[in-house]
Amino acid sequence: MKAHQADRFATIMLWIGSLAIVAILIAFLTLILGRGLPHLTSEFFNGPDGVRGQLFNSFYILFLSLVLSLPVGLGAGIYMAEYAPKNKFTDLIRLSTESLASVPSIVFGLFGMIVFVNMFGLGFTILGGSATLALLNLPILVRVTEESLRAVPRSYREASLALGATMWQTLRKVILPTALPGLITGITLVAGRALGETAILIFTAGMNVSRIPFDVNPLAAGETLAVHLFAVKSNPLPGTNADQIADGTAALLIIMVIVFNICLTLPSRWLQRRQLGRNKV
């Protein structure tokens, strides 16, 4: 009887825990969106204090940082999972990535400032910001990639190799498609960080927006939405409705992240379904 009661108690506790998460999310969304959504007018984007530039910069920097970090991060992760022999050197690589993954982002920001802003003499630039963001995200990408690939059963590899496939064919046609959901999760994770990151970008991409709309010059300074939110809240310019801009920006940030996640998840689901055949198990 006692085991029975403990079981019920545990079930209820776990249920409450899960419910709390949903409740917190709902409270959070209603508050932020409720305060911010009314401010999201055309004026908010295109007006004299409009955030059109910041919105563009956010995605531009996200895009550039992914371009810089994905090939290296995925490549290193794949190498670690599939090709690397197990020895002291690869243990050292793994230890290094793990240590790098836990470095506070503001330290990366300082590093980026020393290297890109000062040593290379670029000043505050979108390129410097993206490169530093890429550095921040690399260790996480390597780890997530390695772990997703390791989760693919060994028997798939054996089956493919025994049919006369090369390692590269096996990787492309069996391992990567199977690991895709894990990889997408990893990319969503780093993309979310890139969209929300402030500490790094204040030090490297600066707090100015180009006067040219949709300026793709990577050597221009580029304030992102998250940095903008920090700027208007911490240092409100007199004569502006800083609180409203901040509320609107916060809501816009949330919407951006949600939209971005959906944009990544839906195609990956579709790809998986195509891989698996009609009736998924």
Binding site: E158, A159, S160, A162, L163, G164, Q169, G277, R278, N279
Partner: protein, 250 residues
Amino acid sequence: MDKIVVNKLDLFYGDQQALNNIGIAMKERSVTALIGPSGCGKSTFLRTLNRMQDLIPSVKIMGQVKIDGQDIYAAGTDVVLLRKKVGMVFQNPNPFPKSVFENVAYGPRIHGETDKKKLSEIVETSLKDAALWNEVKDRLHESALGLSGGQQQRLCIARLLAVGPEILLMDEPTSALDPISTMKIEELISELKDKYTIIIVTHNMHQASRVSDRTAFFLSGDLIEEDVTSVLFTRPAKKKTEDYISGRFG
């Protein structure tokens, strides 16, 4: 004619010797069963025949394995071509998480076949040869993971046949299956014998006597005895073989 000739084959895992001076010949279009207790080296030996054992780090192999007169461990051997010719069925059915069709088409595709019509033909004949066509012809584009264990194993055999092998290595192909699925696979083996050279590792001595022409008994990395199956099971030449088949150990 001898399809496979193995000569003085030694295999080491690091310092530990797992195969000891193995010598055996296998005829074309015959079934050879490898029996012996767990850890005797029969699976290890099987996997040296398509060089799958090479994938394990720190393995050292010495001696000669000749297939159609070619030493497969000679420098310059194309492992991809070898594995195309010497296919393998594993202990646990391991279909890819793809549709039934894509599983069978996988091999031909990686070997360069792109013509849709030809692929469909290959898939159909391979599934028919693996005695699975009637059960899956209406669900070719559903996930292979939805099939039963026995169906999955026959799918793996179909996937293998689609590559056009000459030799089939089977590593305890029925040990994870129920009796009826086992029976179907055994029937399939006796049909495939007309076209292929088959080597099957099995724990089940009844299975060995049902499906094989010749049987080889392994013990602690040694090949103790190899003979016509009925002879080995009724009049073994060696005491160790007799002890094993009469159930005194193993």
